[in-house]
């Protein structure tokens, strides 16, 4: 049996409670890894930019983008320090990155 992560869905539930509505928001996810939270964020947001310095993780995330989210999500291999954007974000999610 593989390891089951967060079987009760606590993270998503608390993220919903704390973040509030992401509808219509431009969201930045920092430390997205292989996209553990990205799909849920992209479904709720207007547009998601997800960054991580690990190229392998980003490649895995890009390969797994659900069809319905194409055009709503953008992955970039970069550190937060190197990242820049011409447009400001409404919400940033710093997930298990320290």
């Amino acid at each position: 049996m593989p390891v089951i992560l967060d079987p009760e869905g606590n993270e998503g539930r608390y993220l919903d409670k704390i973040a509030g509505s992401l509808a219509g928001k431009r969201v930045l996810e920092i430390g997205c890894g292989e996209g553990r939270l990205s799909w849920d964020l992209a479904r709720k947001a207007d547009y998601l930019v997800a960054i991580d310095p690990d190229a392998d993780d980003i490649a895995a995330a890009q390969a797994a983008i659900p069809l319905e989210l194409a055009g709503k999500i953008e992955f970039q291999t970069t550190s937060l320090e190197q990242f820049s954007s011409p447009y400001p974000f409404d919400t940033a999610v710093l997930s298990w990155s320290f």
């Binding site: 049996m1 593989p2 390891v3 089951i4 992560l5 967060d6 079987p7 009760e8 606590n10 993270e11 539930r13 608390y14 993220l15 409670k17 704390i18 973040a19 509030g20 930045l28 920092i30 937060l80 320090e81 990242f83 820049s84 954007s85 400001p88 974000f89 409404d90 919400t91 940033a92 999610v93 710093l94 997930s95 298990w96 990155s97 320290f98």
Partner: protein
């Protein structure tokens, strides 16, 4: 870490939100669930003794005290990793959680507990997690000019 929060502040529109999620520096318990009962076997060791998590929380408070953000909501919850054996958990951690260790004594305790005849059993790593929402404030006067 405070520099990272300043960078996030620069990337947000004025009044934008930061949601921060990170484990707390409370012990990450390893327990055995037998049916509806739970039995503590020990806790996860980390190379830096949970220092990163403490520093993440401290940095958040520092960014607030410097005037970059206002803390508007915070909660704690448990994030669980559930495995059918301590070996499965150790294997997962070796691949995904650098610097973490399940001590031999804790592993032996898990194995002892899982010798129970209870059919519904699981080895669980329970991580306490802090989640907070912060509002980006106008740049502190000292840095905006």
């Amino acid at each position: 870490m405070v520099d990272a929060l300043k960078q996030i502040h620069r990337l947000l529109r004025p009044g934008g939100r930061l949601v921060d999620i990170h484990p707390t520096d409370d012990t990450h318990d390893i327990l055995v669930r037998l049916g509806s009962s739970e039995h503590l076997a020990g806790w996860l060791r980390e190379a830096n003794d949970y220092l990163d998590y403490r520093q993440a929380t401290d940095a958040l408070h520092q960014a607030v005290s410097l005037g970059y953000f206002k803390l508007t909501r915070q909660r704690e919850f448990f994030y669980e990793y559930c495995a059918d054996s301590v070996d499965s958990l150790k294997e997962y951690l070796a691949e995904n959680w650098k610097g973490s260790t399940v001590d031999d004594r804790v592993a032996a305790s898990v194995e002892e507990l899982m010798r129970s005849l209870e059919p519904n059993q699981m080895c669980v790593l329970r991580v306490p997690v802090f989640i907070a929402r912060l509002k980006a404030l106008p740049l502190p006067a000292a840095e905006s000019g």
